[in-house]
């Protein structure tokens, strides 16, 4: 299988702190990968490196065989962690999605049927057709997340990065977004890298996991990575993986035999 995203031996220092230490992993087309770690673990920093906004001190990142940054920008769709929209901004959902096609281009634009069809098709794919003419400032959190995904995917990039898309969503809306992302990876073949501090909502759909702790990562299938011995090695001290009421919890200390997370 070809590789959409390749991260090899990436080191990043910020303010004298070693934020990412020899980080490496790969993502294939149609895979949904969870980038899991606590707040401040370096998830957003890694996204900035993949987007080419932050240079790595060492190592390199390739998106579809192109180095991160300008050559790879058209290959990456991005949904940021913080989106605060003015409720009065005069922008319909279809206008926001349309900016995903050419919002980065200077110059005059003509209306075309193809671009309208592309926007409509994307809105349909994320289940937001009924919102097309709504003002973006009136959307609920879950609706906005769908629209931002449509904006990021309308130009059909092979890689989609989502920085904490489930933060501030209630359980039902979070589950809807996860289900939508799983559907898009399978139907459109897009590779998704999604960061979260809680892996539980993603466990049913995650193909791979990249677990970040202390600046290092462990990657593989959830069953390979979410294990006491693997995460203990990552944290540099004993941790245990427990299953409590159907939820997987990583706790400090050795609490006995670790449970292997299975799909």
């Amino acid at each position: 299988m070809s590789t959409v995203l390749s991260v090899e031996g990436v080191d990043v220092w910020l303010g004298g702190r070693h934020v990412l230490d020899e980080v490496g992993f790969e993502i294939a087309p149609g895979e949904l990968t969870g980038l899991i770690g606590s707040n401040g673990a370096g998830k957003t920093t890694l996204f900035r490196v993949i987007l080419g906004l932050l240079p790595a001190a060492r190592g390199h990142v390739e998106v579809v065989g192109r180095p991160a940054g300008r050559p790879a920008r058209a290959q990456v769709g991005y949904v940021p962690q913080k989106v605060a929209l003015d409720p009065d901004v005069p922008l319909r959902v279809r206008d926001l999605v349309s900016l995903g096609l050419d919002g980065n281009r200077y110059g005059f634009r003509r209306r075309s049927r193809q671009r309208d069809e592309a926007v409509d098709a994307m809105l349909s794919a994320v289940g937001a057709t009924r919102l097309a003419d709504a003002r973006v400032g009136t959307l609920s959190g879950g609706e906005l997340q769908r629209v931002l995904i449509a904006h990021a995917l309308v130009a059909q990039p092979p890689l989609l990065l989502l920085d904490e898309p489930l933060a501030n969503l209630d359980l039902a809306n979070g589950q809807e977004v996860v289900t939508l992302l799983a559907k898009l990876t399978k139907e459109q073949g897009v590779a998704v890298l999604l960061s979260a501090h809680d892996m539980n909502p993603l466990l049913p759909v995650m193909d791979r996991i990249v677990y970040v702790a202390e600046g290092r990562v462990a990657s593989g299938t959830p069953a390979e990575v979410v294990r006491g011995e693997v995460l203990s090695g990552l944290y540099g001290h004993p941790v245990s993986v427990l299953e409590l009421g159907g939820r997987v919890v990583v706790v400090a200390g050795d609490t006995g035999p670790t449970d292997l997370v299975t799909r």
């Binding site: 929209l85 003015d86 980065n104 281009r105 400032g137 969503l169």
Partner: protein
């Protein structure tokens, strides 16, 4: 503005020039004002024309055209606000630029013979004093400003609404801020001699803010903003002609009235909508 005696006088001679000039200023203010309100950059957009006060005052001291002084100082003020305001310190940068440039403007004006009339003209403009040559310069700058706004439209919109996404797609928010402020500088150079720094600001904020409250798409908002700005300046000139009160008074009052009317219309429409208005979208970790 003096009271007239008939329709013929109201639309002839200097009055005809005033109508055309005001129309050009209104169109440009309506178009560029859209980006001012969408970017939430009213203070920065206030800083550039207020700073240009120093350029016009300096031009008066040197005995050269006010447009020349504005054309030099407005872009410098724009660059100053953009550079000092990087890393999201725009408000502080705008305030600093305003106080420094107003101080300079006051100093320059103190060196001229007609201090009070110059101050009044720079703050409120001299719509009736526009010559044919100035009208040509105003028209040229108006075409430049509208064309620049069209070319910059999409990146300005993207950086205003989704700045983090824009960065990831290679559109620098700092560069967009700079382009935006330079656009405001062009409008300043064009409009300050005509409507003054204060009235230009009210034209760039009142009509687009009112339009934003009632229109849904960028295109409709810009069209409504231009229409409201046109009605504002035309009404202000006509009311001034009839009452002999200053044009500036009517521009300011009408700008605020449009905004309040727009908010009221938006509130009424929201109340009529089935399901009413929901909580605004705001996602932040």
């Amino acid at each position: 503005m003096g009271a007239g005696t008939g329709r013929g006088v109201m639309f002839s001679g200097v009055m005809a020039t005033a109508w055309v000039t005001a129309t050009l200023v209104a169109v440009v203010a309506g178009v560029v004002g859209f980006h001012v309100v969408v970017r939430g950059a009213t203070f920065a957009a206030h800083a550039v024309p207020m700073s240009a006060f120093a350029g016009a005052a300096g031009a008066a001291v040197l005995g050269v055209s006010a447009i020349a002084g504005l054309g030099v100082v407005s872009p410098l003020a724009a660059l100053g606000v953009a550079w000092l305001g990087r890393r999201r310190r725009t408000d502080v940068a705008s305030a600093l630029v305003i106080v420094v440039m107003l101080g300079l403007g006051a100093l320059f004006l103190s060196w001229t013979a007609e201090y009070s009339s110059q101050v009044y003209a720079l703050l409120f403009g001299e719509l009736l004093g526009v010559s044919t040559q100035e009208l040509a310069a105003t028209a040229g700058l108006a075409v430049l400003a509208v064309a620049a706004a069209a070319v910059l439209h999409r990146p300005l919109l993207l950086t205003a609404v989704l700045p983090d996404v824009a960065d990831g797609r290679g559109v620098s928010v700092l560069a967009a801020d700079l382009w935006f402020l330079l656009l405001v500088a062009v409008v300043t150079t064009m409009a300050v001699p005509v409507v003054g720094t204060l009235l230009m600001f009210s034209l760039m904020v009142g009509p687009p803010a009112a339009a934003r409250a009632v229109a849904r798409s960028p295109r409709a908002t810009i069209a409504a903003s231009v229409a409201i700005a046109l009605v504002t300046v035309w009404s202000a000139i006509a009311l001034s002609y009839v009452t002999d009160w200053p044009v500036g008074f009517f521009v300011g009052i009408l700008g605020a009235a449009w905004y309040l009317a727009g908010r009221a219309a938006a509130a009424l429409a929201a109340r009529r909508r089935p399901g009413a208005r929901r909580q605004p979208a705001a996602l932040a970790a």
